[in-house]
């Protein structure tokens, strides 16, 4: 009895309310029987007015009093965007007609829907089967809250048609656009495989050749869109699909970001992911052109090199600040296996001002193509010129490379000399009558430093030869001096080079 009494106090009830876990403590048993505590706890939780409002706002009857179906649907859809949770089956079912086959999820138009393959703020993507053409397709359904607005529907149709006009091997083909039905939708080629995002999540940073291959294919797809004046606006790893088996890269979701311009400011959950791949001009809300996509593609390349997005923060606000204000962490700090020239290329794409970036997707495609060729055949194919120039400024590795180039040059020079020197010796033995004595002796003269070669030359003690030998001796020393001065000249030239590249207005990143 005493025990029970001690439990009847506000503090223990407050503690109970405060507790974070869902566990049921011993007090629960007491609460079950003590009406006083039951009433007291209710008061402590909230005042009667609030209890009443809570009931009114959450009760379905209240909504039914003035809501019609359309409203309820719009509102429900908005709720999901706000909470950014997965689309529940009930909403999915609303979008579809009943299936004609029990194993299917539902039907839309002539398409039998098999399952959900993805969802986002814009809509939901199903894997479906085209019953007339007997092929699998991907059906993207416009989110109900967007479908409700006439302007958004019109834009959806317009953008989808523009996207459908892009026929390119690296762009997911659009088969059909249906905007007259209650639920507008878009039918695309079904790509069996995974998105680049899934690949990155699974494997982390990719191999250099992979990075270049995916990058150049994406650039090719983008170039095709840009050629028609279409800006993608949402280039990110989850919009880049990798076909299973052959690993062909396909870009998807063209221009659809704009389908909801007319439903602007309010739909906060519209962008369910983070704005990690936005360009600075997008983040600032300035007008964007094709170069915005190039910045985003730079971020995608960065993600492939490092396994993560370049601009990261806990909140979207933080991410946007980073995109507009800061430089990402140098790639080679994260992954030293990435060559310097690729880091420089990405830094160029990441220029805050669109004017400093590579001018077009086509140009980028061309550069990446050359890079890939260079990586696969380093001796046969040089790096693109733009990246070579960049290469001069940074320190040791290139300095080392420069010096070795110089050494190789001198080495080759000497080797040639030696080769020629040896050549006439054999030849001379076969035919004593030498047609070009002066040249021959010049080269044998170099061999004078080598006792064995002296012996071979002195073996033939002709007076004439001796005379020429002496006459040429002078010339030879001159030649050696010349070679030395050439070497020093070359080396001087190399050391001056970086200064020159720096004096040229180069992107600021290079002077780090």
């Amino acid at each position: 009895m005493n025990n029970r009494k001690s439990k009847c106090n506000d503090q223990s009830l407050i503690d109970l309310l405060q507790a974070e876990d869902d566990g049921v403590p011993a007090v629960a048993e007491h609460l079950e029987h003590c009406q006083q505590c039951q009433a007291r706890m209710e008061v402590l939780a909230a005042d009667p007015q609030q209890w009443r409002i809570a009931r009114q706002s959450l009760s379905c009857n209240q909504l039914d009093a003035f809501d019609d179906d359309d409203f309820e649907r719009t509102w429900t859809a908005k709720q999901f965007h706000r909470t950014q949770s997965a689309w529940p089956e009930s909403v999915v079912k609303q979008l579809l007609s009943p299936p004609s086959h029990p194993e299917m999820l539902g039907r839309i138009g002539r398409y039998e829907v098999e399952r959900v393959i993805g969802s986002g703020g814009m809509g939901i993507v199903f894997k479906a089967f085209d019953t007339e053409l007997n092929r699998p397709v991907a059906v993207k359904v416009l989110a109900p809250y967007l479908a409700g607005s006439g302007a958004a529907r019109k834009r959806f149709a317009r953008e989808a048609r523009a996207a459908a006009a892009i026929v390119h091997e690296h762009v997911v083909p659009i088969h059909n656009v249906e905007t007259d039905s209650e639920t507008p939708f878009l039918v695309m080629h079904y790509v069996a495989g995974e998105s680049l995002q899934q690949r990155l999540d699974r494997e982390g940073p990719l191999e250099l050749c992979e990075i270049l291959r995916i990058g150049l294919q994406t650039a090719a797809g983008l170039a095709a869109a840009h050629a028609q004046g279409l800006v993608h606006r949402d280039v990110k790893p989850s919009n880049i699909l990798l076909e299973m088996g052959i690993e062909r890269t396909l870009l998807t979701d063209f221009g659809l970001a704009r389908a909801s311009d007319d439903a602007s400011l309010t739909h906060t959950g519209y962008h369910p992911g983070t704005p990690q791949y936005m360009s600075p001009e997008q983040a600032r809300g300035d007008s964007v052109d094709v170069r915005s996509d190039l910045f985003s593609l730079g971020s995608v390349l960065y993600a492939m090199c490092t396994g993560r997005a370049p601009f990261r923060a806990d909140t979207s606000y933080g991410i946007l600040r980073r995109i507009t204000d800061t430089e990402p962490r140098p790639i080679r700090e994260v992954n030293p296996a990435i060559p310097e020239w690729l880091e420089l290329l990405i830094a160029k794409l990441h220029s805050k001002s669109p004017d400093d970036r590579i001018g077009s997707a086509r140009e980028l495609h061309h550069v990446l193509e050359q890079c890939l060729a260079h990586v696969q055949q380093p001796l046969a194919v040089m790096l693109p010129e733009s990246l070579q120039q960049q290469d001069k400024s940074p320190p040791h590795t290139t300095k080392f490379a420069r010096r070795s180039v110089a050494t190789v040059c001198i080495g080759l020079l000497l080797l040639g000399v030696v080769g020629l020197a040896l050549f006439p010796r054999n030849n001379g033995n076969l035919s004593p009558d030498v047609t070009q004595p002066s040249e021959l002796s010049r080269h044998t003269g170099i061999m004078a430093n080598d006792p064995s070669s002296i012996q071979t030359t002195v073996e033939n003690p002709s007076a004439l030869r001796n005379q020429r030998w002496q006459a040429n001796q002078h010339e030879i020393t001159e030649l050696i001096g010349e070679a030395a001065s050439i070497q020093s000249l070359i080396e001087q030239e190399w050391t001056i080079m970086p200064d020159r590249t720096e004096s040229v207005p180069a992107p600021s990143q290079t002077s780090k």
Binding site: D22, L44, A45, D70, T266, T268, Q282, G285
Partner: protein, 199 residues
């Protein structure tokens, strides 16, 4: 090209002085969007028109934010934006004719009626606002508590199922039902507290 919604939103929240303000903006939008829509529909507007009105209100609020940022004596963003959003919403809604019909030449009549309608609307608005806040809070709470905890609240308080029955349905003790429903209510109240506008 005009900016797309994520871009517009991004640019707006970028200009806010800190991240908490950006979160506040998102919450205000989350509550005002269905609120204005609902009230507009109730006044007889078509879905598309109601949607437009929602856009209108937020465009106006966003414009005001520009001015607010210029001010040196600006107070807390949350309180300010709640007040300004309310004023704009009530104002726009009161300009909407009842039944959604266009106002003809009868504007004098309309003008005379406005004060009455304005105050009536104002009360209605505040009540609806409170409800919307709770709906929003419910979504938030639901994501953090377990489903049975939420159901204990929903069943016993909203659907008015007797406590003993609810306990049976959920397979938990009566005491646990009491604890769960009160915990949910307390969290709802705490979240709703942030949206009280102090004049």
């Amino acid at each position: 090209m005009p900016p797309s919604p994520p871009e517009t939103r991004a640019s707006l929240i970028l200009r806010l002085p800190n991240a908490a303000d950006a979160a506040a903006w998102d919450e205000v939008v989350a509550i005002y969007c269905p609120l204005v829509f609902r009230l507009a529909r109730r006044r007889g507007l078509q879905i598309a028109d109601a949607d437009d009105l929602v856009q209108d209100v937020f465009a106006a609020v966003a414009k005001q934010i520009e001015a607010w940022l210029e001010r040196t004596d600006r107070g807390r963003f949350r309180a300010w934006v709640l007040r300004i959003a309310r004023n704009i919403a009530v104002n726009r809604l009161s300009r909407m004719p009842l039944g959604g019909a266009a106002i003809g030449g009868d504007w004098v009549c309309d003008f005379v009626e406005t004060p009455v309608r304005q105050s009536e609307l104002s009360n209605q608005f505040d009540l609806e606002f409170q409800r919307e806040v709770f709906r929003w809070a419910a979504v938030q709470v639901r994501t953090v508590v377990s489903e049975s905890t939420w159901q204990a609240f929903q069943l016993t308080h909203v659907d008015e199922v007797p406590i003993a029955d609810a306990a049976g349905q959920l397979g938990i003790s009566i005491g646990a039902v009491y604890i769960a429903r009160n915990r949910v209510m307390k969290r709802l109240r705490e979240l709703a507290l942030q949206f009280e506008v102090h004049e």
